[in-house]
C-alpha cells in the first residue's frame, strides 16, 4: 500500500477518485502474474517492516486440510507430504484436496451457513436443501447462478421447493428477506435504515432499504392444499410472488415527507416498471401441480428483474462474495464484518479486494478457482508469528539492529506525514463531492416529490377504476347467476315436459284404471306451466343484467384510458426522476469512493502512528534500561558515602562516651573530697567555737594553764585541719582543671560530631534522592513497558487485520465435531462401511473408471456424514452463534466443556479400538513412537523434546491394560486442548 499511496500522491485527485482508479492500476507484468502472486504483492506492499514467519510444513498442511476438508490430515498423508520433494508440492496438494470428496462437503456446509445462517428447517426438509447444495457444488455452480436459481425458483413447482428455502424459512417475511439479501448477496446490512437513513453510516439510506424491499414486498407465505399420492389432503406453505405494489414510506426523523420507491439495488439506480392496470397484472393460471391456493405468477416479476440485474451486473456480487470466500479462508474478511461494507468501514486492503473481485468476475464467479488461488498464496501460508517474535519481550523489541529500527522509524514518520497531507486533500475532495451530492440529492428529492404526487393521483384513479371493476365484476356475477338460474329452469322445463309426454303416452297405452297416471300427468302439466310462466321473467332479467354488465364493462373500459393517462403522467415524472436519480447515484458513488479512500488513509495513518509510538516506546525503554546501571551505581555510591559518614560518627560518639565516663569518674573523685573538705571546715568551725569559748573561759578561770593547754591543742587541731583542707583544695583544683580540660576536649569532639551528623543528613538526603530517582525510573520504565505492550497488541491486531500475519481462529463447530470424529477414526469407519455397502449394491466393474470410483467415495462420505449428522449437530448446538448471525463468533462456556468431558462420546471415541489412533498408540513399538502417533495424528506435528520426555516418563513401567487407559486419557486430553480447538 505504501507504493500505491506514494503513487497516489502524484495523482491528479479528480482523476483518482473516479471509479476507474479504484482498481489497481496494474502494469502489464502484474496483469500477467497469477492471482496468488498478485495477492502476495498487494499484501507485501502494505507490510512496511512487518514480516511473518512461514508456518511449519506439517501445520501448513493441517490448515489447508481443515479449510478444504474440515478435518486434519491423517498421519499417512503427513508422511506422504513430507516425502514429497517435488517443487510444486504445495500446488499438487492443493489440487488433491480440492478433488477430495470432503471439499464438496466443506462447500456445502459453508454455503448452508452463509445462506441460511443456522435458521431451523421449518418448511423445507433439510435433506432436500442439502441435496440442492450438493448438486450445485458438484457442478461447481458459480455463486451468481446459485443465487439466481434461488431467486427465480417457482413456488408452484415442487422440484424447486428446496431452493425456495431461502424465502420459506425466513417465513416469507419481506423485511427479513430484504435485510438478508442486502447482507448475504451484497455485503451490506441495511437493517438500521428501515425507518430512517442509517444513524451512523452515511452510505446506508432508507431508499436503499426500501429499494431492496421492493423486490420482495408484498409477497408472503400463503397456504395451499394438495392431494398426496394416497389421495389425502396436505397443506403446504408457499412463498408466492404478488404483483408489485410499493407502499409509501417516511422517515421517523422527518415525518410528513413521503417517499415511494421501486426496486433499487444498493447504491444503484431505481427501476420503474411500465404501468399495468390492476386487472392485467397476473398471467392466466399456470399451476401444473394443481395446488389449491397457489396463485398465478404476476406479469411483472420483480424476482425476474432481480435475476436480470444479478446476471447483468455481477460487480457488487463478486465484490461481496470474493470477500466472503476470503473470510472463509482467513477467519475474517478484507471488509469485516463481511456484511458491513461502507465508506467508514473500508476494506483493510482495498486494492487486494478490488483485484480479487475483478478476477472473480473474470472467472465467471468460479468459487473453486478463487479458493485455489487464495490458498496458493504465500499470505495464506504465513504463521501468526512476526519475524522478530523471538526477540520480543512482553511487547518490547530491543533495537539491537539499529539500522532496521531507525529505517523503519523514519520510513513510518515519512509515511505518516504523507498520509496526513493526503488525508487532508482527500477530506477537501470529500467536502466538494459532498456539496455536489447534497445538490444532486436536493434535485432528486424535488423530482421524487413530484413522483409521489403523481403516484398518489394514480392511486386515487386506481381506486376509482377498482370501484368500476368491482361493479363490473358484481354485475357479471349477477348475470352469471341469472344465466345459471335460467338454464336450470329450462332444464327443469324440459324434464317436466318429457315427463308429461311419457305420462301422456303411458296413459294412451294403458287400459283400465288410469286415474293415478292422469293425476300424475296433471301435476306434470301444472309444473310445466308454472316453470314456463317463470321463464320470461328470468329472460327479461337476463336481458337487463346483460345490458347492465355491458354498461359496467363499458364504464370500466371508458375509465381505462383515463387511468392509463394518469399513469402516463406518473411515468413522465418518473422519467424526470430517473435523470435526477442517475446523477444522484453517480454523485453518491463518487462521494462513497472519495470517502472510503479518505478512511483508508486515516486508518493507515492511525496504524502508522501506532508503529511510530511503539518504536519510540521501544527506544525509550531501551535508553532507560541502558541508563539503569548508572543510576543504580549512583545510588550505591551514595550508600557507601553514607556508610562512611556513619562509621565516622560512630567513632566520634565512642570518643564522646569515653569523655563522658572520664568526666563522670572525675566528678566521682571530686565529690568525696568536697565532702571531706566540708567536713573539715565544719570541724574547724566547731574547733574555733571551742577555742573562743576556751578563751572566754580562761579569763574567768584562775587556773588557766589547763585551759591554755587545751587551747593550744585546739589550735593545733585547727591548724592541722586547715592544712588538710588546703591540701584537699589543691587536689580539688587539680581535679577541676583536669575536668575542664576533658570538657574542652569533649567540646572539640562534639563539634566534629555535629559536623559529621549534618554531613550524614546530607548524605541521607542524597541517598533518598538517588532512591527516588531509581523508583521514578522504575515507574517510568514500567509505564513505558505497559504502553509498549499496548501499542504492540494493537500493532499485532492491525497486522492481523491487514493479513500481514495470520490471526488465530477457532474451528467452526462443524469442523470441531468432524475433526474429533475423524481423528479418532469414527468417521473413517463409517465411510468404509458405507463404501462396502455401496459396493455390495452395485459391484464396481473391473475396468472401473477413476471418476466412478471417486463418485462412490464421495457418496460414501456423504452417507457417513448424514449418519453422523446428529453428532455434528450436538457440537453445532453447543459451539455455534445464534440464528441469523453472519459468522460464528468464538465463545467458550462450561457446558461445552462438560459435554466433552462427561456427556457425549468424546471420551469413548478416545479409547483404543480396532485400528484407530489410540489402538495404534497401544500397539506402538515404544513410547517414543506412541508419542509420535499422538502428536502427529491429532495435532499434525511431531512432539517437542519436552513433550516427548514427558510422554515417555508416563509410559514407563506400564502394564498393557493400564497403557490402554492412559492412552485414552491422553487422546482425550489432546482433543480438548486449546491447540486442537484452533487453526495452526
Amino acid at each position: 500500500m505504501v507504493t500505491r499511496i506514494l503513487k497516489l500522491l502524484n495523482c491528479v485527485f479528480i482523476f483518482w477518485i473516479s471509479e476507474n482508479c479504484l482498481g489497481w492500476q496494474d502494469s502489464v507484468d502484474a496483469q500477467e502474474m497469477p492471482l496468488h502472486s498478485r495477492i502476495d504483492s498487494f499484501i507485501d506492499s502494505d507490510r512496511s517492516s512487518i514480516q511473518s514467519v512461514q508456518l511449519p510444513e506439517s501445520e501448513r498442511l493441517r490448515r489447508l486440510s481443515l479449510d478444504l476438508r474440515m478435518v486434519p490430515p491423517s498421519i499417512e498423508e503427513l508422511d506422504e507430504y513430507s516425502k514429497d520433494s517435488s517443487p510444486d508440492r504445495w500446488e499438487r496438494w492443493v489440487t488433491r484436496f480440492l478433488q477430495d470428496p470432503m471439499f464438496h462437503e466443506r462447500m456445502v456446509d459453508w454455503l448452508d451457513k452463509s445462506l441460511m445462517q443456522r435458521r431451523p428447517n421449518q418448511h423445507v426438509d433439510r435433506v432436500k436443501w442439502i441435496e440442492f447444495l450438493r448438486q450445485s457444488v458438484d457442478s461447481n455452480v458459480p455463486i451468481d447462478k446459485l443465487l439466481r436459481d434461488i431467486v427465480t425458483s417457482t413456488w408452484w413447482n415442487s422440484s424447486e421447493r428446496a431452493k425456495q428455502r431461502f424465502f420459506l424459512d425466513r417465513a416469507g417475511d419481506a423485511h427479513a428477506i430484504a435485510r438478508d439479501t442486502g447482507r448475504i448477496f451484497f455485503g451490506r446490512d441495511l437493517q438500521c435504515a428501515q425507518c430512517h437513513d442509517h444513524p451512523h453510516i452515511s452510505d446506508y439510506l432508507q431508499i436503499d432499504y426500501h429499494g431492496l424491499l421492493a423486490f420482495f414486498a408484498p409477497s408472503n407465505l400463503a397456504e395451499a392444499k394438495f392431494k398426496d399420492e394416497k389421495g389425502t389432503e396436505q397443506k403446504l406453505q408457499l412463498y408466492m410472488e404478488k404483483a408489485p405494489n410499493d407502499a409509501p414510506f417516511e422517515s421517523v426523523f422527518d415525518k410528513g415527507v413521503v417517499f415511494r420507491s421501486g426496486p433499487r439495488l444498493l447504491q444503484q439506480r431505481e427501476f420503474y416498471d411500465p404501468y399495468l392496470a390492476p386487472d392485467t397484472r397476473y398471467a392466466s393460471q399456470q399451476n401444473p401441480e394443481s395446488l389449491d391456493g397457489a396463485s398465478a405468477p404476476p406479469i411483472q416479476s420483480r424476482r425476474k428483474l432481480l435475476d436480470q440485474l444479478l446476471s447483468d451486473s455481477r460487480k457488487s456480487l463478486s465484490y461481496a462474495w470474493a470477500n466472503r470466500i476470503w473470510a472463509m479462508l482467513f477467519g475474517r474478511g478484507i471488509v469485516d464484518p463481511v456484511d458491513m461494507h461502507h465508506a467508514e468501514n473500508p476494506p483493510s486492503n482495498p486494492d487486494l479486494l478490488a483485484a480479487l473481485a475483478d478476477a472473480f468476475q473474470a472467472s465467471n464467479l468460479d468459487m473453486k478457482a478463487m479458493i485455489e488461488q487464495i490458498v496458493l498464496s504465500k499470505t495464506y501460508q504465513q504463521s501468526g508469528f512476526l519475524s522478530f517474535e523471538s526477540e520480543l519481550r512482553d511487547g518490547y523489541l530491543a533495537p539491537k539492529d539499529s539500522e532496521f529500527f531507525s529505517q523503519w522509524f523514519s520510513k513510518s514518520v515519512q509515511l505518516s506525514s504523507d498520509l496526513a497531507s493526503l488525508g487532508q486533500k482527500q477530506l477537501n475532495e470529500c467536502e466538494t463531492l459532498k456539496n455536489d451530492l447534497d445538490q444532486k440529492r436536493a434535485n432528486w428529492l424535488e423530482k421524487q416529490k413530484e413522483r409521489v404526487v403523481a403516484r398518489s393521483d394514480l392511486d386515487k384513479a386506481e381506486t376509482a377504476f377498482l370501484d368500476l371493476k368491482k361493479k363490473r365484476d358484481e354485475s357479471s356475477a349477477t348475470l352469471e347467476k341469472t344465466t345459471k338460474a335460467l338454464s336450470d329452469e329450462k332444464g327443469k322445463l324440459q324434464s317436466f315436459q318429457e315427463a308429461a309426454q311419457s305420462l301422456g303416452k303411458a296413459k294412451a297405452l294403458t287400459t283400465g284404471d288410469t286415474s293415478d297416471i292422469a293425476q300424475a300427468l296433471e301435476i306434470a302439466t301444472k309444473r310445466v306451466e308454472s316453470v314456463k310462466s317463470g321463464i320470461p321473467k328470468l329472460e327479461m332479467q337476463l336481458a337487463e343484467q346483460t345490458a347492465a354488465k355491458e354498461a359496467a364493462g363499458k364504464a370500466l373500459e371508458e375509465d381505462r384510458p383515463k387511468l392509463l393517462g394518469i399513469a402516463a403522467k406518473l411515468s413522465e415524472t418518473e422519467s424526470k426522476l430517473s435523470q435526477a436519480d442517475e446523477s444522484f447515484v453517480a454523485a453518491r458513488t463518487a462521494h462513497f469512493l472519495a470517502n472510503q479512500n479518505h478512511m483508508v488513509s486515516v486508518r493507515s495513518k492511525a496504524e502508522c502512528d501506532l508503529i511510530i509510538s511503539w518504536l519510540s516506546d521501544c527506544k525509550k525503554v531501551h535508553e532507560l534500561e541502558a541508563s539503569k546501571p548508572k543510576r543504580i551505581e549512583a545510588r550505591e555510591s551514595a550508600q557507601i558515602q553514607l556508610a562512611t559518614v556513619q562509621t565516622k560518627i560512630r567513632a566520634i560518639e565512642e570518643q564522646l562516651a569515653n569523655f563522658d565516663s572520664e568526666l563522670a569518674a572525675t566528678s566521682n573523685t571530686i565529690r568525696p573530697i568536697q565532702e571531706r573538705i566540708a567536713q573539715v571546715i565544719s570541724e574547724i568551725k566547731a574547733l574555733e567555737s571551742t577555742q573562743s569559748s576556751l578563751t572566754a573561759t580562761s579569763s574567768l578561770v584562775k587556773n588557766a594553764d589547763a585551759i591554755e593547754t587545751a587551747k593550744s591543742e585546739v589550735l593545733l587541731a585547727i591548724e592541722s585541719r586547715r592544712g588538710q583542707e588546703a591540701s584537699w583544695k589543691k587536689d580539688l583544683d587539680n581535679l577541676a582543671m583536669k575536668k575542664a580540660e576533658t570538657e574542652n576536649r569533649r567540646i572539640s569532639v562534639l563539634d566534629s560530631w555535629t559536623k559529621s551528623t549534618s554531613e550524614r543528613t546530607l548524605v541521607e538526603e542524597q541517598l533518598q534522592q538517588r532512591q527516588k530517582e531509581v523508583d521514578q525510573f522504575d515507574g517510568e520504565l514500567a509505564s513505558l513497558q505497559t504502553s509498549c505492550q499496548d501499542s504492540f497488541a494493537k500493532l499485532r491486531s492491525g497486522a492481523e487485520r491487514r493479513f500481514l500475519i495470520a490471526s488465530q481462529r477457532p474451528l467452526s463447530p462443524e469442523q470441531l465435531g468432524l475433526s474429533i470424529l475423524s481423528s479418532t477414526n469414527v468417521f473413517q469407519n463409517y465411510v468404509i462401511a458405507e463404501k462396502t455397502e455401496l459396493e455390495k449394491q452395485s459391484p464396481p466393474a473391473a475396468d472401473e473408471s477413476k471418476e466412478s470410483a471417486m463418485e462412490r467415495q464421495r457418496s460414501a462420505s456423504r452417507r457417513a456424514i448424514d449418519k453422523l449428522r446428529s453428532n455434528i449437530d450436538q457440537f453445532a448446538s453447543l459451539y455455534s452463534s445464534g440464528v441469523g448471525q453472519s459468522a460464528d463468533e468464538f465463545f467458550a462456556t462450561p457446558d461445552q466443556a462438560l459435554f466433552v468431558a462427561n456427556g457425549g462420546s468424546v471420551y469413548q471415541w478416545s479409547a483404543p479400538s480396532g485400528t484407530n489412533l489410540p489402538a495404534k498408540m497401544v500397539g506402538a513399538e515404544d513410547s517414543g513412537q506412541a508419542t509420535m502417533i499422538l502428536y502427529r495424528g491429532l495435532l499434525s506435528r511431531p512432539p517437542t523434546d519436552r513433550e516427548l520426555d514427558w510422554c515417555k516418563s508416563l509410559f514407563k513401567d506400564l502394564q498393557t491394560a493400564d497403557k490402554g487407559k492412559m492412552v485414552q486419557e491422553l487422546v482425550w486430553a489432546v482433543l480438548c486442548g486449546a491447540e486442537f480447538r484452533v487453526y495452526p
Partner: protein, 434 residues
C-alpha cells in the same frame, strides 16, 4: 508474549468481541470517524465490573398462559366484571388484593403493584416475546430476553455457577435460546425440578484417579501450547474447562435435598413450592437470574376454579420466598418480577372463562431498588381501561434493568452495530424506583 496474559484485547469480555476491539482500537483513533459511539463500551469495562461487584440478582415468575389481574392484583369485587372473588386488605392500608392471595397480602409492604399495564398484544407467542424482551417481535431482528441481558450485565463467572437459569416444571436439561445477538454464552441453562444441569457429574466408568489424571494431562498439554501462543481465544477455552470442573464441585447448589425438610414444608412439597425454594438456594449461591414458570393460566373456560387452584399453589411459596429474601438480607439486591404474556378480559364469557386481554392488566415488582408497599397505576371501576399510570412492556423492561442498577439507556456493540439494550422509545418508570 510469554508469561503475562497480554493479547490483542484488553477487556475481560474479549472472547466475543474481537471485532469490536479492532474497531475500537483502530478506528477510534481515526479523526472524524463516526463509526464508534462511546456507549458500547460502558458495559465492557469498569462500569461492568462495578455492577458485578454490586452483586444484584433477579427472579422472574412467568405466569404462563395469562394470569387474570382480576383474580390477583387488581380485583374488582361487586362489579359486572368482578366475578365471585373478593378483595382483602393487605399489610399496606388502602391496598387490597384478591382473596386468593392471603399469604401474599401479608407481604404487601414489600411489593409494588403496577396496575396500569397496556401492551396491546393478545397473542400468546407475541405477548410472551414482548414481555420477555421489552420489544415487539419483528421478523428482521431478534432481541435478547431479560435473563440474558441481566446475566450478561450482572453475572460474575468467577462464582462458578451459571448466570442464567430457567426452572421448568418438566424435563429441563437443555439450553435455552434467549440471548439473540448477545451470543449463546448468555442463553439459559434449564433445570428440571431439582435436577442439576446436564453433564455435571463424571461418567461412572471413569475412576476418580483417571478423572484427575486426564485433566492433569489436559493442563499439561495446554501449558506446552500456551507457552508459545497465548491469546484471548486460548485463554477463554482453557478457562471453560476449569469452570466446568468448578461447576461440578458446585453441583450441590442444585440439590434441593440439602435444604431442610422444615423449609420444604414451609414452601410446600409440590412443583412450585420446590421451585421457589430452589430459586432461593440458587440466588443465595450466586446465580444472577432465575426464571420460574407457573403454568397454565389460559383460562378460557372455568376461569374462577382454575384461578382458585393456581393461585392457591402460588400464594404460599411466593410469600414465603419474599419473606425469606427479606429475612436473609437478600431483598435489597434481588429484584422479583411476576409477569405474564398478558392479563385476562374483564368480560366473563359464556363458559365462565376470561379471554386474552392486554389493554389493562397488572405486573408485580419487588425488591432491589423498587419502592415498597405501593400500587402504581389504576384501572377504571370495571377494569376495562387504564385511567392512571399506564405503562407498556418497553417501560417495564427499562425499569427491571434500572431496579438492579443497570443503565438501561446504554448500547452494546455487536458486529459493528450499536444496539440499545432496551427500546430507546421507552423509558424507565422512575416513580416506582426508590
Amino acid at each position: 508474549m510469554r508469561d503475562t496474559a497480554h493479547y490483542a484485547c484488553q477487556s475481560s469480555e474479549h472472547m466475543e468481541s474481537r471485532r469490536n476491539f479492532l474497531r475500537n482500537s483502530l478506528v477510534s483513533t481515526a479523526a472524524g470517524s463516526s463509526l464508534v459511539g462511546g456507549l458500547g463500551y460502558l458495559a465492557e469495562g469498569q462500569a461492568a465490573d462495578t455492577l458485578k461487584a454490586a452483586d444484584m440478582r433477579v427472579i422472574v415468575f412467568n405466569m404462563h398462559g395469562g394470569l387474570s389481574q382480576l383474580e390477583s392484583w387488581d380485583p374488582k369485587p361487586g362489579t359486572r366484571t368482578g366475578g365471585p372473588c373478593r378483595a382483602i386488605p393487605t399489610s399496606v392500608p388502602g391496598i387490597h388484593i384478591s382473596d386468593l392471595l392471603p399469604y401474599t397480602a401479608q407481604q404487601m409492604h414489600h411489593l409494588c403493584l403496577l396496575r396500569g399495564v397496556n401492551t396491546a398484544e393478545d397473542d400468546h407467542g407475541k405477548g410472551a416475546y414482548l414481555m420477555m424482551t421489552g420489544r415487539r417481535q419483528t421478523a428482521a431482528a431478534d432481541y435478547p430476553q431479560i435473563g440474558s441481558v441481566t446475566s450478561k450485565m450482572l453475572h460474575d463467572e468467577n462464582r462458578g455457577v451459571p448466570g442464567h437459569i430457567v426452572v421448568t416444571p418438566g424435563g429441563g436439561g437443555g439450553k435455552g435460546n434467549e440471548a439473540a445477538y448477545l451470543g449463546p454464552k448468555y442463553n439459559s441453562i434449564s433445570l428440571g425440578g431439582s435436577k442439576p444441569p446436564p453433564n455435571t457429574s463424571k461418567p461412572e466408568q471413569i475412576t476418580e484417579e483417571s478423572e484427575q489424571r486426564r485433566h492433569e494431562f489436559r493442563r499439561r498439554i495446554n501449558e506446552e501450547f500456551l507457552s508459545k501462543r497465548r491469546t484471548a481465544i486460548t485463554d477463554a477455552y482453557t478457562h471453560s474447562y476449569e469452570q466446568a470442573l468448578r461447576l461440578m464441585e458446585k453441583r450441590d447448589v442444585f440439590d434441593l435435598s440439602k435444604e431442610s425438610p422444615k423449609d420444604l414444608e414451609r414452601y410446600g412439597d409440590y412443583d412450585l413450592g420446590r421451585q421457589c425454594l430452589l430459586a432461593r438456594r440458587l440466588i443465595e449461591n450466586g446465580v444472577s437470574f432465575v426464571q420460574i414458570t407457573h403454568s397454565n393460566y389460559d383460562t378460557h373456560n372455568d376461569n374462577f376454579n382454575f384461578h382458585i387452584e393456581q393461585m392457591g399453589e402460588f400464594d404460599r411459596p411466593f410469600a414465603t420466598l419474599i419473606a425469606d429474601l427479606v429475612d436473609r438480607g437478600l431483598y435489597e439486591r434481588t429484584l422479583v418480577v411476576v409477569l405474564s404474556e398478558f392479563g385476562r378480559t374483564p368480560n366473563i364469557n359464556l363458559y365462565y372463562g376470561r379471554d386474552h386481554w392486554s389493554k389493562a392488566w397488572s405486573v408485580v415488582m419487588a425488591g432491589a431498588k423498587v419502592v415498597r408497599g405501593a400500587a402504581f397505576g389504576k384501572t377504571n371501576p370495571e377494569g376495562t381501561e387504564v385511567v392512571d399510570g399506564q405503562v407498556d412492556h418497553g417501560d417495564l423492561f427499562h425499569t427491571y434493568l434500572r431496579a438492579v442498577g443497570i443503565d438501561s439507556s446504554q448500547s452494546i456493540q455487536v458486529d459493528g452495530k450499536e444496539l440499545p439494550i432496551a427500546d430507546p422509545a421507552a423509558e424507565p418508570i422512575w416513580k416506582v424506583l426508590a
